[in-house]
């Protein structure tokens, strides 16, 4: 029997959707009992929300003021202190999980399985390597706890129609004071979140300026879509970093992805492999993006995008 502990990601009193996807991944482990831990300064709302997720048999609350800013150096020793008895400890492969989980793994003396995309058995998984150009089947050592991150884009959230018990615990861990949160500079936007939106419209270097990127925002608004970008567009300062899609940005799996003025470098394609339908708009018919696009339209985006926006409004 396996016993899985999932570290919940949350913000502003809500669970991040990646948590329910981690549960879906853990549910693929044979005969798994799944617990979720919420570390917070006030975890009540998040814990109650997570308690409704199917397959979860217990939610554990760890409340202390130090947890307010979710610093890995603060959270890791608390999770490590409660690891005993668990065969697996999972977190999402978002920046939150990628920061935290390896620190937990090292405290427990094990390597981490990064980015699980498929569970083959309790210690056997598939994960992407080389920017997704290869899929590796890996085996974690048996007899040691498996610490892993879950590639959220590979999973659908479990349903939320259950009711697991919620329990509060204190962890006896030494909390360091060498790391301090100063501030979060987050762009506020009413658009659907890039990581969960059903439709995403992305723009690349071809947009040419922050002003021109408005074309992308307008089309996205007409479609009720989230907005993404290539690294080149972020580097050029057209949009903030949190919009970057790809190997070093966000890995997403919308039902519809529209790539506009993006060439389709492998590092970008890694981020959209699991999209349902990919549409590419590019003036170069030879651009690599057309190798993966389900529907391609060759032409000048400055003519096409306003016309498309008109047509879907």
């Amino acid at each position: 029997m396996s016993k899985v502990l999932i570290v919940a990601e949350h913000a502003d009193g809500k669970a991040n959707p990646s948590t329910a996807k981690c549960v879906a991944c853990a549910a693929g482990i044979p005969e798994a009992e799944i617990h979720v831990v919420v570390l917070s300064d006030n975890s009540e709302a998040v814990a109650n929300e997570i308690a409704t997720l199917s397959s979860v048999s217990k939610v554990i609350r760890v409340d202390r003021p130090d947890n307010e800013n979710q610093l890995a150096a603060v959270l890791a020793p608390q999770v490590a202190a409660m690891a005993e008895g668990y065969t697996h400890i999972f977190g999402p492969s978002t920046t939150f999980g990628r920061d935290l989980m390896p620190r937990i793994a090292a405290l427990l003396g094990v390597n981490q399985v990064s980015d699980i995309m498929e569970v083959l058995g309790s210690h056997s998984f598939k994960r992407p390597v080389y920017a997704g150009n290869a899929i590796a089947t890996v085996e974690a050592p048996t007899g040691l706890v498996v610490v892993a991150t879950v590639r959220a884009a590979s999973y659908r959230a479990v349903s939320s129609d259950a009711g697991a018990p919620v329990e509060s615990v204190d962890t006896a861990a030494d909390i360091p004071d060498h790391s301090r949160f100063i501030e979060l500079q987050a762009g506020s936007s009413d658009r659907p979140d890039l990581q969960t939106a059903a439709t995403v419209v992305s723009g690349g270097r071809a947009l040419g300026s922050a002003e021109n990127f408005d074309l992308i925002y307008k089309l996205a608004d007409a479609l009720g879509a989230g907005v993404g970008a290539s690294r080149a567009a972020v580097d050029a300062g057209y949009v903030p970093n949190e919009l970057q899609v790809g190997q070093t940005g966000k890995i997403i799996a919308p039902e519809l992805y529209i790539a506009i003025g993006i060439s389709g470098a492998i590092q970008h394609l890694t981020g959209i492999k699991d999209a349902g339908t990919i549409v590419a708009i590019n003036k170069d018919g030879e651009a690599p993006i057309f190798e993966v696009a389900d529907i391609g339209l060759v032409g000048d985006l400055f003519a096409i995008v306003p016309e498309l926006q008109e047509a879907v409004s």
């Binding site: 913000a11 890995a72 978002t94 920046t95 939150f96 990628r98 920061d99 989980m101 390896p102 620190r103 937990i104 793994a105 090292a106 405290l107 003396g109 390597n111 981490q112 980015d115 992407p128 390597v129 080389y130 920017a131 150009n133 290869a134 899929i135 590796a136 089947t137 890996v138 050592p141 040691l144 060498h178 790391s179 301090r180 949160f181 100063i182 979060l184 500079q185 987050a186 990581q195 439709t199 690294r231 972020v234 903030p240 970093n241 949190e242 190997q247 070093t248 966000k250 492999k273 339908t277 549409v279 057309f290 696009a293 389900d294 529907i295 391609g296 339209l297 498309l308 047509a311 879907v312």
Partner: protein, 249 residues
């Protein structure tokens, strides 16, 4: 600050289209261009700038791997690192063991800052820096796009999913760098000549008092599943029709 250690991993160049060997035993590396992991080049550039501002005395580049990694270390020396250490191992080394090697080098060298890449683009593990920080009991500032050092604290801007997070950490610390931190310098020919005379120490992994961790074993590789061939449409109207046919509009 005294010394900065920088990790330089030798990886398949990011421009190479990586292919899985037909027997599934790994990816094709014969005759393939190898380079410094791109994130590590940025880490080194940042270390050199810190030293050149007078905020550190020495930059030491470190690689753990086969003796071929001397090439990448020489490139690092040509970029401006003061010396290099190669910890030799014929087999590839797992991240936790790499972190333990760094820990043992930190003890030998008493480093105040370790700069690593946020991930190595071969295994895409993104775990070594965080592990090292845990073993060391020191702060970690991951996915950094800006690093300011003042006295014994570092202020770091981190690229995270929700935007930019600014944290302050006490030194010594581990910082893992993202691509937007800086633009690495080009190496000039005279620098390559000079680099040949800089010290490059070779150590065998088993000379260091490092316990090897149990690796996550890679048992098989396969190419990713391919998407079905798409269609090219002629105009916006046909695009809209195609999307409607799929129920997407």
């Amino acid at each position: 600050m005294d010394k900065i250690l920088v990790g330089l991993k030798r990886v398949v160049d990011y421009n190479v289209r990586v292919r899985v060997r037909s027997d599934g035993s790994g990816v094709e590396t014969d005759g393939v261009k190898m380079s410094i992991n791109p994130f590590d080049e940025i880490a080194l550039e940042e270390a050199l700038r810190i030293r050149d501002r007078g905020d550190a005395s020495e930059v030491i580049v470190v690689s753990i791997g086969s003796s071929d990694a001397q090439q990448q270390l020489r490139t690092g020396l040509a970029m401006g690192a003061d010396r290099a250490i190669l910890v030799e191992s014929a087999e590839s080394v797992d991240p936790l063991t790499v972190a333990r090697v760094f820990m043992s080098l930190i003890e030998r060298e008493t480093a105040d800052l370790v700069l690593l890449g946020k991930q190595a683009i071969d295994g895409d593990n993104s775990q070594t820096g965080q592990m090292l920080a845990a073993l060391w009991g020191r702060p970690q500032a991951t996915f950094a796009s800006k690093l300011d050092i003042e006295g014994s604290t570092a202020t770091v801007t981190r690229e995270i999913d929700s935007g930019l997070e600014i944290v302050e950490v006490d030194l010594p610390a581990v910082v893992t760098v993202d691509l937007r931190m800086n633009e690495p310098r080009y190496v000039k020919l005279p620098d390559i000549m000079k680099a040949k005379k800089k010290p490059l120490d070779m150590l065998a992994l088993n000379e260091l008092n490092v316990e090897q961790a149990a690796a996550i074993r890679e048992v098989r590789f396969e190419p990713p599943s391919e998407r079905e061939k798409g269609v090219i449409v002629d105009d916006v109207a046909s695009l809209v029709t195609a999307l409607k046919d799929k129920g997407l509009l």
